[in-house]
């Protein structure tokens, strides 16, 4: 498994799929919610990432439906993908805690740091 930091779209897509299987448009909307509207994935970006994640075995197809004559494919996180996401969460948390602690000790911020 790669130890490289995940890019933000990849991290957010894995996060969107962590709780339950979702279809493509559902992932786009969920990523927007997770990022407080900051990240709005486009279809080209989404499917380039989904294709790569499937090839790496981090996600897989949960089920497929046809709704109003349109294909809807649901994706879910695999155990491998969950481990990779957990490792990334630990890495980000560690860095964030270190940054927060040092900012607090520096006294540069008026409110004493980050909550």
């Amino acid at each position: 498994m790669s130890d490289q930091p995940l890019r933000e779209p990849t991290f957010l897509i894995l996060t969107a799929l962590a709780e339950k299987p979702q279809h493509g448009y559902g992932v786009i909307e969920d990523v927007q919610r997770i990022s407080d509207g900051r990240v709005r994935l486009r279809a080209g970006t989404l499917y380039a990432v989904l294709d790569r994640l499937r090839a790496d075995g981090w996600i897989e197809v949960d089920r497929e439906e046809v709704v109003q004559s349109r294909l809807r494919r649901y994706y879910r996180l695999t155990a491998l993908g969950a481990r990779r996401l957990a490792a990334e969460v630990a890495r980000l948390r560690h860095n964030a805690e270190a940054a927060s602690a040092r900012l607090g000790r520096s006294g540069l911020l008026a409110d004493g740091g980050i909550a």
């Binding site: 498994m1 790669s2 130890d3 493509g24 448009y25 786009i28 486009r42 279809a43 080209g44 970006t45 989404l46 499917y47 380039a48 989904l50 294709d51 790569r52 090839a55 790496d56 075995g57 197809v61 497929e64 439906e65 046809v66 709704v67 004559s69 349109r70 294909l71 809807r72 494919r73």
Partner: protein
Amino acid sequence: MSATDLERRYRLLLAAYPWEHRRVYEEEMLAVLLAGAPPHQRRPGLAEAWNLLAGALRVRLHNTGRGPTRAGWADAAAVTGLLTAFALFTLSLHALTEYPHFPTVSGPGWQREAVDWARLAGWGTVCAAIAAGWRWPAAGLAWIAVIAEATSLTLRYEDDPVSVVNTLWQFTLTLIAAATLTIPASRRRAFALLGARRMSALLLAAAIVGAVFLSNRLNRPPTLSTGQGQAVYVFYDLEATSDAVMWLYLAGITTAGLIGLISVASLAAPLRLRIGALFAPVISLMVLINATLAGWMTSNGHLDHAIHLRPVQWIALVGVPLVTLAIGVLAVQRREHVRTMVDLGRAVDRQRSQPQR
């Protein structure tokens, strides 16, 4: 109908994707694009169009370059690195049997002995480092071996170009070992992939080769100085006084080779094919040398001065292995990507054949 116009235009943009990708994702992507479009939109937005075209380019590069199965290549590199280092260690075992003592500067041909001992110690250390999970020291040592072997080839080329060409396959193996050990992999990944049974088989193969070398050393025919006639059978560095003994040696070497081959052949197809692609340059180089340079070698043996290779021959010696590697890697990538996409496409077909909700 605006929806029809929009769909048609999106389909035009999606045509930029490779067919394997379209077969699996086109309908799904179209559904997402149409679901995200505002009512009465007739044309894709500029940003959306750019994103689709950039995505198509990314997928095309991804399929031919980095590949959809990076983890698979990392696994293949880990196993290839171990197998190559172990093969080079096994081959260098002949130093153990060739020289009954460590070289001394006063002995004849001590430089050659020292190089052979250094090879044995070096590749033994590389194998030990891999076994201990020290990937970077192993890769560093392998690259030192590449530099040392390249220097040795360069120094020998002026006086003895034939021996240089004859040992190029060994240099290529050294290069493959260094390159594959440099590719990141988790600790002891190669051992996990090969498993205890295959590792035992490979150790047995090395023991057989070592036994042949040792027997060759102990039973080597004496140097004929008196002119007495005695048949001596020679095959590369192996020498025997009887046909049967030579066949025994060859059977031992062949058995060891077959054990190694079966160990790799019994791996899962994706791993096996990748390892084959990584070793293919060595095979193509040996075939090229045997097919095109036999006459050149014979001529060199009959003349009192060395005939050197022409630039075009060097280009072939370097280019053919590189092209073989590129073709092998692309063929494996292509095969697996198509298989994956066809499987996924079948799933879509099955879904479509079911009644719609």
